[in-house]
Symmetry: C2
Subunit: 316 residues, 2 copies
């Protein structure tokens, strides 16, 4: 049934991508079909099922959540580019900039139309707040790029805003439309937030190969872009001398050459930075599971709890 | 009192720009304080006053409308750049791209928070639809840049979406929160839409100096960027031979040199393109005024009617 529900959400997503302006469904469909684990809408759907609430509203809100996420991804293309390819933007990339911005705006607007159809003003408030918090988190992240004074605390605030806020809202809105108590809404919000924090920490560890520091094709983006994620922030707080100079050169100045990434991994091994990052992810995943304990046990509660485990296991 | 109301809207705008992330209020405030005639929120405020509706909701919706408009302006910076400076984007411009995208997203999200506070689901639906229509219009406009096969009809569809949709929504939502009939809502929507069309046509004529084709400092942007606005589309539909080659070179290839803008003006004079553009603007302004006739005459109705005249008079 959750599988059925997710198929309905997918159908709703494809239906609402539609526009007489061809570029929009083309680009958005490419992104939505290519991408993704659909983790965020799954949270909304599974939470509504856990609460035995089987109306249409959670499906509409789940689709809205995925639209907000996809809009953010499209806008990230523009934002990340500025970190990576400053001053060297090829024409086709710039055209892509324009379409990324506009198609993102379209999806963002459509997400609110879906929320209106879901009919809950309170859910609308929660999701619009999440959307402004995401933008705030992205601005802060932008300021933290290449900034080796970024602390662990700042990093945590950034991921709380840019990632965990939407996970939290995705879970909370299920409780809202199901008409649950403030306590249960808060528990769902906590579940989503902790899951989101675990998810982002694992992502950031995976960018350095995860627990085993395995080098793969999708590894090293954050390092190349000079992003100060937790593994780097943990090294920085204990670094001195030669190591500080290394991070200054590779992150602050993004002046990198062959062997630097391997050197970064060696420093991370020295400080247990990846293990510590994943320990924190595990702690958040456990807190996510614990937040569910106030709900009656049922297969959907199990599915949500398993999701928390799954998010962390990716890293091993 | 409308003056008082507009001050309240301004206060609300400044209040809701606030964020603990400093760059956001800085950049947004700069744009909002520098910019603008506040035409769109004024429509909402004056329409609510015309309907003797003096609650807070129209002020919140007026602020939301200005936020949507400002978000669009910020995102336009990124989009226009792609037309103008393809492949030659300086580093600071790209950083500006990132902040324009993210601060725009923040404003867009905040606009929905304001709508939630206004408390009307129907108004939310109208404004979220307007927002997706704007994005569609911008995408179509992007495809029409440097495209000299763009017809008058396509141009009209583009400005209906990218400009008139928000004007229409700004007027309509006042009728919605005031609880007026479908007929009155439609009349307000028509007023806003026609005013928006007039506004955009005048803007496009002013980019070629307006009725007198007076050359000033803010003239010629559309020409330089290869935008096919109505004055150009009108020339194109009657052009042949040497003139067709001229538009092909200057617009389709944006290969321009000194004297080309003056030559464009000469072709426009030959085809009465600026006069025709402004005639169409006058027709829309008259239709805007006529749409107001179903409402009881009062000073606010006059103010809205005068706004339609004012919009066109800018061009003379």
């Amino acid at each position: 049934m959750a599988y059925d529900d997710m198929r309905k959400v997918d159908a709703l997503i494809l239906e609402r991508l539609d526009s007489h302006v061809e570029l929009i469904p083309e680009l958005a469909r490419y992104l939505i079909e290519a991408g993704g684990k659909r983790v965020r809408p799954m949270i909304t759907v599974a939470a509504a099922n856990m609460l035995n609430y089987s109306e249409k509203a959670p499906l509409q809100l789940a689709a809205a959540v995925e639209f907000i996420h996809t809009a953010t991804l499209l806008h990230d293309d523009v934002v990340d580019e500025s970190g990576m390819r400053r001053g060297k933007v090829a024409a086709n990339l710039v055209w892509n900039n324009a379409s990324s911005v506009l198609v993102g705006d379209f999806l963002f607007a459509r997400s609110f139309t879906l929320m209106v159809e879901a009919g809950s003003m309170k859910a609308l408030g929660v999701l619009s707040n999440a959307a402004s918090t995401i933008a705030e988190g992205e601005v802060r992240q932008l300021s933290a790029v290449k900034d080796i004074t970024t602390t662990v605390e700042t990093y945590n605030q950034i991921i709380d805003a840019k990632t965990a806020a939407l996970f939290a809202a995705a879970a909370e809105v299920a409780g809202i439309v199901a008409g649950r108590s403030e306590t249960e809404e808060t528990a769902l919000r906590t579940y989503g937030r902790e899951l989101g924090l675990a998810f982002q920490l694992v992502d950031d560890a995976l960018d350095y190969g995860g627990a085993a520091a395995k080098l793969g094709k999708s590894v090293g983006d954050d390092f190349r872009e000079g992003k100060v994620t937790l593994p780097v922030a943990l090294c920085l707080q204990s670094a001195s001398g030669e190591e500080t100079a290394f991070w200054e050169r590779t992150i602050a100045q993004t002046d990198q050459s062959e062997g630097d990434f391997e050197q970064a991994l060696a420093y991370m091994a020295k400080h247990d930075a990846l293990e510590d990052t994943l320990d924190q992810a595990r702690t958040h995943a456990r807190q996510a599971r614990e937040a569910l304990e106030i709900f009656e046990a049922n297969p959907w509660r199990e599915a949500l709890a398993d999701l928390a485990d799954f998010v962390v296991e990716r890293a091993y």
